[in-house]
């Protein structure tokens, strides 16, 4: 029997050099937030159950890609994912490295496991975070490439 080892099939994602990372950290968060919102409106929004969309709407979530120095803020408002302002409180803050996010998006990873290992940090409203995690788990992979060997 074989057990797929998700880490063995990770795409190469070299984090940027420290100087570039420092620069990225200082860039406005709106462009990457808008990009992610657009991607989620195409891939996630149509698959989001009505009750989950209602429960998740109206809250700002901050997502940090630690090794790239990228930070984004999103909110689900009026039925669409949108970029959220770079100030004010957030309901939930999630931080992880790019590789962990990729494994989660491909459905190869367990958020609890990442959490145990501190590879994923979640701060803020735990109930909202759990709803988000369980909703995404139930929907399944949002990214189908590259897939791990089976």
């Amino acid at each position: 029997m074989t057990t797929a080892s998700p880490t063995s099939s990770l795409p190469a994602l070299p984090p940027p050099p420290a100087a570039l990372r420092r620069l990225i950290t200082r860039l406005p968060i709106q462009p990457p937030s808008l990009l992610l919102a657009a991607a989620l409106n195409r891939t996630l929004r149509p698959r989001l159950p009505v009750d989950a969309a209602a429960a998740l709407a109206g809250h700002t979530v901050e997502i940090e890609v630690r090794d790239f120095g990228v930070r984004l803020r999103l909110a689900l408002r009026d039925g669409r994912f949108r970029s959220a302002p770079d100030h004010g409180p957030v309901t939930l803050r999630i931080a992880a490295d790019a590789a962990s996010y990729l494994r989660l998006l491909r459905g190869d990873e367990d958020a609890d496991r990442l959490f145990f290992e501190r590879a994923l940090v979640m701060e803020g409203d735990t109930e909202y975070g759990l709803l988000l995690k369980n909703t995404l788990d139930a929907i399944g992979p949002l990214l189908h490439w590259p897939s791990p060997p089976r």
């Binding site: 797929a4 367990d110 501190r118 109930e127 759990l130 709803l131 788990d137 139930a138 399944g140």
Partner: protein
């Protein structure tokens, strides 16, 4: 845990592999990975994993049952919390829904729920939940005589020899836990979290209600609080566990340590030959709250191990890759045989 070999009598009964499903996706992946049965719950307090976004509505349950049945597998429904005396109707309605869905078995703990199933749906197969905390042949026999249970899930407080005693004399099938997070193991009787939150697993279906959990980043690391009560503080790079009172670290007589239970995962792969020799009917994997990826991978390992053990019980050896795969998903990243090999009773 290292690979080891065991002696066992030839051709033991092959236990059924019962896997967790917190969502339709987890259910289908468990079936595809080789589960003989999956267990699931409805989206309310009638089951002991009552978390937002988790579990099944009736349409999803129908779809899951159809998926499993078309592949010759079973779907069991966990209805394993204790009915609220102010409104037991919700629990009875859930039994009625399970019967209407045509579920293969209902996993119950509360005698009122069992009695409702017995009286209104005599065709419904009943399993006694671990939450009923029946630890002796006599206790299990009581549930068989009164409610007609066909299987009992043993609490994780028994040693291997105690499991064997129950199994050899039981008139119903016996199911044991094989893998997954452990709790303080007073199943059916734990009200520890009520102290901090007013809710317990046996009433509200959650031991640490997410609304009461707060993670706070500070100078000394990350603090986990349950309704304001500090239950643990982790150094920046220290692994974490589930934020439950029983797995917290507390100052006791000047020493800060796990006062009740360490965050570990049960893993009984190495006991498989003995469990099969005893005639265990089913092995349960914990983790309806975990991701479909966990369910799929853990199911795959246990399917291979059970098949290997059934084919050649005397030559069974735990494969290092199984241990590595299971270790990846374990809470606390450490495995234990739990009470199965505890020297004390």
């Amino acid at each position: 845990m290292s690979a080891s070999t065991h002696a066992a009598s030839p051709s033991p009964r092959k236990p059924r592999l019962v896997c967790p499903a917190g969502s339709l996706r987890a259910l289908t992946l468990a079936i595809d990975a080789g589960a003989d049965a999956v267990y699931m719950g409805l989206k309310d307090a009638t089951n002991a994993r009552n978390f937002a976004g988790l579990n099944f509505d009736l349409a999803q349950a129908r779809e899951g049952i159809a998926y499993a049945r078309s592949r010759g597998r079973e779907v069991l429904m966990a209805l394993n919390t204790f009915a609220d005396a102010r409104a037991p109707e919700r629990w009875f309605a859930a039994v009625d829904a399970a019967a209407e869905l045509g579920i293969d078995a209902l996993i119950c703990a509360d005698t009122a729920v069992l009695a409702h199933a017995r009286d209104h749906h005599p065709q419904l197969r009943l399993h006694l939940s671990v939450q009923a905390s029946a630890t002796t042949r006599e206790a299990i026999e009581f549930y068989r005589e009164r409610y007609g249970i066909r299987r009992a899930v043993l609490p994780r407080v028994l040693t291997l020899s105690q499991v064997e005693q129950v199994c050899r004399h039981s008139t119903v099938e016996i199911e044991v836990f094989g893998f997954g997070s452990l709790c303080v193991m007073v199943e059916g009787r734990c009200a520890l979290s009520s102290y901090a939150t007013g809710q317990s697993p046996n009433t509200a279906g959650v031991c640490s209600p997410p609304s009461a959990v707060r993670w706070e980043d500070g100078a000394g690391g990350v603090s986990a609080r349950l309704n304001g009560v500090l239950i643990d503080r982790y150094a920046p790079d220290e692994p974490r566990g589930y934020p439950t009172l029983c797995k917290g670290r507390f100052d006791v007589d000047g020493t800060r340590d796990y006062a009740l239970e360490e965050p570990t995962s049960l893993n009984t792969l190495s006991l498989l030959p003995q469990l099969m020799d005893m005639g265990i009917a089913a092995i349960k994997i914990e983790g309806r709250q975990r991701s479909p990826a966990y369910v799929e991978q853990v199911t795959r390992v246990w399917r291979a191990a059970i098949d290997d053990c059934a084919a050649q019980p005397s030559r069974f050896a735990v494969q290092p890759e199984w241990t590595a795969a299971l270790g990846r998903w374990a809470e606390g990243q450490q495995h234990t045989l739990g009470a199965y090999d505890r020297p004390w009773r």
